[in-house]
Each structure stands twice: as structure tokens, then as C-alpha cells.
């Protein structure tokens, strides 16, 4: 059963066409990797799915859990289970990270008609997560991403993801700024969430991250569309011949 279906999508950003006739179907429980060179439109695709303000959809449709995704506000998409780990998570100075986590968690619970948690209950839940993953819980007391290192920011994204238990996870260049140990931890955290029902879209330049989160399907994007889809073996071709190798193979 599909969770996300993109049909003939056309998108422009600042009057420039970035995505041009893209099709993609992700089923529940699948991990997809979307690879491509800088500027091929893969981050724009993530922004389109999450409802970023800079994105203008010119044509096509996106169906998420059998609903029209493009008519939803960004916060509704989030509350319905779409979570993006940002390439550059924003800083919110003065806002306590734990308070932020509580706010986001309880808004989602309310949206789903589930029980909200008070600070003590939530702290307990979060501490279980941080202990399990070996995350220093000092990041709970700091301001949201304020003065965080690249690795800490990504760790904080992971923590939010684990807490919010999304159904569709988009990882936008999750490995940028991470050393191998941190990447391994992030990979373990994400694998923990993969229960056969959740889906992941990994957006990446490099193979590295795919050593830790194994994709079922790999797509190569170029010129605003997906030019090749296959299994992990595509990655090996990319490693050997580069993106040029793929383009040549299809042309």
C-alpha cells in the first residue's frame, strides 16, 4: 500500500523550473534513497513534500495517505506524520529545547486525539530515548539548536524524530556534518523506528549514509526528474562511474 504517490510533478523556485515531470511512489515500510548531483532538484522535492514557502507547484499531484497533500498547510502535513530532518536545522534562541519538544509533541497528540503529556511524563519518555541512543541529555536544557555543533543539530533532529514517531521520514543530507560515530548512531536511531509500517526517503549525495540505513529502492535524479530506479546495485555503479555513468547509460 502506498503512503506517498507523486504524479508528474512540476515545481518552480524563484521563477526557475526545478522539478519537471517527476513521478515517485513510496509504499509503507519502504526505504527509498534519492541520489543526485547538486542542483538536480532533490532538496526541492523534500521542500515540496513538506510545504516550504519558496516552492511553487505548477502541475501534478501528490497523494499522501490517500489525501491531497498539496492543499495542506505545512503544520498539517507534519501532524499527519511527515517529518523532515533538515539539512540545516534552524536556531531558536531563548527557547528551551525540552519545552520545544513538549510543544511539538503535545500539538501532535492533540491533533491525533491522543493524550497529552505533562513535563514530567515527557521528560521520562525523552530520557528513555536519550539513554537508549547514548545522547547527552544536556541538549535538552539548551536553547533549540542555538550554538549546537553540526553533529548536535543532527542528533537533535533525530531526537525529535524518535519522539514524534512519524510515518514518513525525509532525511535531507542527514550525513552532512556528521562523523562516522555520529552517523552510526543516527542510523541506529532511524532503524529503531523502522517497524515495517514507516517509510523513509533518504536524500543524499553520498553512499556513506546508505551503509547504515539500507534502502529498498534507489532513485537517481537529474534535471528535475528521476532518470533511473533500481536496487542498491545502482549505488555501486555511481561509485564506479559517477553520475555521468548513469546519465550515459540511460541516454
Amino acid at each position: 500500500m502506498s503512503i506517498l504517490e507523486i504524479d508528474n510533478l512540476e515545481v518552480e523556485v524563484e521563477d526557475k523550473k526545478i522539478i519537471d515531470g517527476l513521478n515517485l511512489k513510496i509504499n509503507r515500510g519502504e526505504v527509498h534513497a534519492l541520489m543526485g548531483q547538486n542542483g538536480c532538484g532533490k532538496s526541492t522535492l523534500a521542500k515540496t513534500i513538506t510545504g516550504h514557502f519558496a516552492v511553487k507547484v505548477l502541475g501534478g499531484a501528490i497523494t499522501y495517505k490517500n489525501r491531497d497533500l498539496l492543499s495542506m498547510e505545512p503544520e498539517e502535513r507534519a501532524n499527519r506524520g511527515i517529518f523532515m530532518s533538515f539539512q540545516s536545522p534552524r536556531e531558536i534562541p531563548g527557547v528551551n529545547n525540552l519545552y520545544f519538544l513538549k510543544t511539538a509533541y503535545n500539538i501532535k497528540q492533540e491533533f491525533l486525539g491522543k493524550e497529552e503529556l505533562n513535563s514530567a511524563q515527557l521528560l521520562k519518555k525523552i530520557k528513555e530515548l536519550t539513554e537508549e541512543l547514548g545522547i547527552d541529555d544536556k541538549i535538552l536544557k539548551r536553547y533549540v539548536n542555538d550554538g549546537f555543533s553540526g553533529g548536535e543539530k543532527k542528533t537533535n533532529e533525530l531526537l525529535q524524530m524518535l519522539l514524534l514517531e512519524p510515518d514518513l521520514i525525509i532525511l535531507d543530507e542527514i550525513d552532512s556534518g556528521l562523523d562516522i560515530d555520529a552517523l552510526k548512531r543516527v542510523g541506529e536511531g532511524i532503524n529503531k523506528l523502522l517497524d515495517g509500517n514507516r517509510s523513509v526517503l533518504i536524500i543524499t549525495h553520498y553512499k556513506r549514509v546508505l551503509d547504515y540505513i539500507k534502502p529498498d529502492v534507489v532513485h537517481v535524479m537529474s534535471g528535475g526528474k528521476i532518470i533511473k530506479t533500481g536496487d542498491i546495485s545502482i549505488v555501486n555503479i555511481l561509485e564506479d562511474k559517477g553520475y555521468g555513468g548513469i546519465s550515459n547509460a540511460t541516454s
Binding site: T50, G51, H52, F53, A54, E73, P74, E75, R77, A78, N79, F83, M84, F86, P89, R90, E91, I92, P93, G94, V95, F100, T103, A104, I107, K108, F111, Y143, V144, Q160, L164
Partner: protein, 369 residues
């Protein structure tokens, strides 16, 4: 700032003096405070029962000739709040005065006088509100604080006078003179959250007369609709080794205009003194503005001044990040604004801080496009 406040505040253990249209209507916890020798009453009662204190201190920090609105106040004021804390006494509870302008076509000219005798401590809260009127109304108050040797006064304000409408019609003109004097080793701390009034001109100040005295000013001023706030402080360093801290947070939305205007002055005698000032502005939207006017006047070579200023905008990317976490735009803005004001809000007594947060949220409603 809810009425009926009496039940509410009694439950929460805060002593309250309510001044409606410059007439003190209710003072609570009177007897309880009396046991400690603390006087908390209206100015008119103080005139009857403690004339010697009134004669000695009223007008001693803000003379009637100080400025136009102080003169007006001195000529016509009818009532206000009076506090006296005896030597070496720590006031056991927060003292609160609640001001409200009810009548139409009127001004409010109340007067507040707080005397903290040697070695004493008091935390005093002032809240203001007024119902909606089409006409402009004037609020011209005078507040005087006297902190004797080793005494501390913490003075917190939440100002929520009617701001007028989006066209700038109606609203309060809030022209207030607030000043305190610190004797040796004393400390005065002003904290204010200004969200109301059509126009605010207000500069709670400290005269650091005694050696080693300390002045603090923590301010959040929010201007939205067509509001204008011109606020800041004067720190007058007269004694040696005096210290002052200024943290000002200005938030502007819609057509709001926000100015920080402050003076830090070191006299020739104030050697070894220092000031730290931080003035941050946050802009929401395209039509608002923020201005910073820091004045510095130093007559000795031995004092240290630090000034930091920033201006930032709530960025679309910041908003998007929060929305991607399921938080709607209004809640996202209030989260960012509360974070921005953190350093000031933490200076408020707890209940007051909760109120201030709610007030900021309410005031920001409809401020984002």
C-alpha cells in the same frame, strides 16, 4: 489582569492595592503586613496616618518641576500607592498595585512612593489596564523609589493599557516618570513588559548615589497595530564602584514603532563603575520599525561601558522549521518572541511572568500575514 482581583490575589498570597481612576479602592493583607511594621496603603491614607514620611520623601526623587507631565501629575494627582519597609525587614510577600482607567474622557494621575529603609527588601508589582475607548486618554504617573543603605527594591510592571485600533484611533498616552535613588550598597531593579498604550514615553531610571550601589533595567516593549513606544532608562552613576545593567528587548509588528532611548552617565566621582547595555530588536513583517538611541556621558577615565545591540527578523526559514514540527504560524511566532524576551521575563516574579507571556501572545494575535 483579571477582576475580581481580590479573591484571586488573596488565594495566591499577593497583597494588592487597586487604584481605579486614580482612587485607591482596595488594599489587601493590610493587617498581616502591619505586624512587620510594613506600611502598604493608598497615598491618601498615608497622608492621614504617616504625614512625616510623605513630607520627607514625596517629590524627593522626582521634583514637581522635573518635566511637563511630572508637573501635571504633581498638581492634580488624587491618589496612588504607598509602601514603607522598615529597617532590616524582608517583605514576606509580593506587593501588587493594579491600576485601571474606567471613566471616559479622563486621565489617570496616580503616584507611587516606595521607601525601603536600611537593609530591607521588597518586590513590588504594578499592573495596568483600561477598557476600549475611541478617544485618547492620558496616563501621567509618577513613581519614586528610595532604597536606603543595603536595601533592595524590585519593581515589576506589566503595562496593558488600551493600544488603540489598527488605524491608530483611540488608546492611552502613557507618559510616566519613574525614578529611584540608591544609597550606599543599595539596589533597584526595574523590570517592565510594555504591550499596551497608543504611545509610551517611559524611562525608569536609577540614581546610583551611594558607593557600590546597583541599578538594573530589564524591558520588553511590544508595539503592534499603530503603537509607538519610546522607552529606556537613565543610569546616573554618582557613587564609586556603582554598577548598572540594561537589557532591552523591543518587538515591532504591523505598523508598530519601537525605540530604545537610554542614557548612561558617569560622574567624575564614579570611579570604578561599570555599565553593561544590551538592546535587541525583533521585527515581524515589513512595515514596522525599531530604533536605538544609546547616550553615553562619561566624566571619568576609570569606568567601563559595554554596549551590544542586535536587530533581527523572524525569518521565514525559522517559521518553516517550527511549522514542519506541527506548530502553527501564530504559536511559532509566540515561541520565537518568548525566546527572544527570555532574559527579561525570567526577572519577573513567577505569576507575573506567566501573565506577561499570555499578554505577549494575545498582543501578537493577527500580527503575522
Amino acid at each position: 489582569m483579571g477582576i475580581p482581583l481580590e479573591e484571586q490575589k488573596i488565594l495566591s498570597g499577593v497583597a494588592v492595592d487597586a487604584v481605579f481612576d486614580s482612587v485607591s479602592v482596595v488594599t489587601t493583607f493590610h493587617e498581616h503586613l502591619k505586624e512587620k511594621g510594613i506600611i502598604f496603603c493608598s497615598i491618601s491614607e498615608a497622608a492621614k496616618n504617616h504625614p512625616e514620611l510623605l513630607k520627607k520623601y514625596l517629590g524627593s526623587v522626582v521634583p514637581y518641576s522635573d518635566n511637563y507631565f511630572a508637573t501635571l501629575n504633581s498638581a492634580v494627582f488624587t491618589d496612588g500607592s504607598f509602601v514603607y519597609i522598615p529597617k532590616n525587614t524582608r517583605c514576606p510577600m509580593e506587593l501588587s498595585t493594579y491600576f485601571r482607567i474606567n471613566a471616559q474622557n479622563t486621565g489617570q494621575f496616580e503616584r507611587t512612593l516606595i521607601i525601603a529603609d536600611e537593609g530591607s527588601y521588597v518586590s513590588y508589582n504594578e499592573g495596568c489596564s483600561a477598557p476600549q475607548r475611541d478617544e485618547n486618554q492620558l496616563h501621567a504617573a509618577v513613581v519614586e523609589l528610595i532604597a536606603h543603605k543595603d536595601a533592595q527594591i524590585k519593581y515589576s510592571t506589566i503595562q496593558n493599557w488600551y493600544p488603540g485600533d489598527s488605524e491608530g484611533k483611540g488608546g492611552i498616552y502613557n507618559f510616566v516618570t519613574k525614578r529611584g535613588i540608591c544609597h550606599e550598597n543599595a539596589k533597584i531593579s526595574w523590570t517592565q513588559v510594555e504591550t499596551g498604550s497608543a504611545i509610551t514615553w517611559k524611562y525608569p531610571s536609577c540614581i546610583l548615589k551611594g558607593d557600590n550601589s546597583v541599578g538594573e533595567f530589564y524591558s520588553v516593549a511590544l508595539t503592534t497595530l499603530k503603537q509607538q513606544a519610546d522607552t529606556g532608562t537613565k543610569m546616573i552613576h554618582l557613587g564609586k564602584n556603582t554598577k548598572s545593567t540594561i537589557i532591552s528587548k523591543g518587538i515591532s509588528a504591523l505598523n508598530g514603532k519601537n525605540s530604545y532611548r537610554g542614557l548612561v552617565k558617569f560622574s567624575g566621582n564614579a570611579t570604578g563603575s561599570r555599565n553593561f547595555s544590551q538592546c535587541d530588536s525583533l521585527l515581524i513583517g515589513e512595515n514596522c520599525s525599531a530604533h536605538t538611541f544609546p547616550y553615553l556621558d562619561t566624566a571619568n577615565q576609570d569606568s567601563i561601558v559595554e554596549h551590544e545591540a542586535t536587530t533581527s527578523k523572524i525569518s521565514d526559514e525559522q517559521l518553516f522549521y517550527l511549522r514542519q514540527r506541527g506548530i502553527n504560524p501564530e504559536d511559532s511566532v509566540s515561541l520565537i518572541v518568548n525566546g527572544f524576551c527570555k532574559e527579561v521575563l525570567k526577572e519577573l516574579p513567577m505569576e507575573f511572568a506567566v501573565e506577561a507571556r499570555e499578554l505577549l501572545n494575545i498582543s501578537l494575535e493577527g500580527s503575522i500575514g
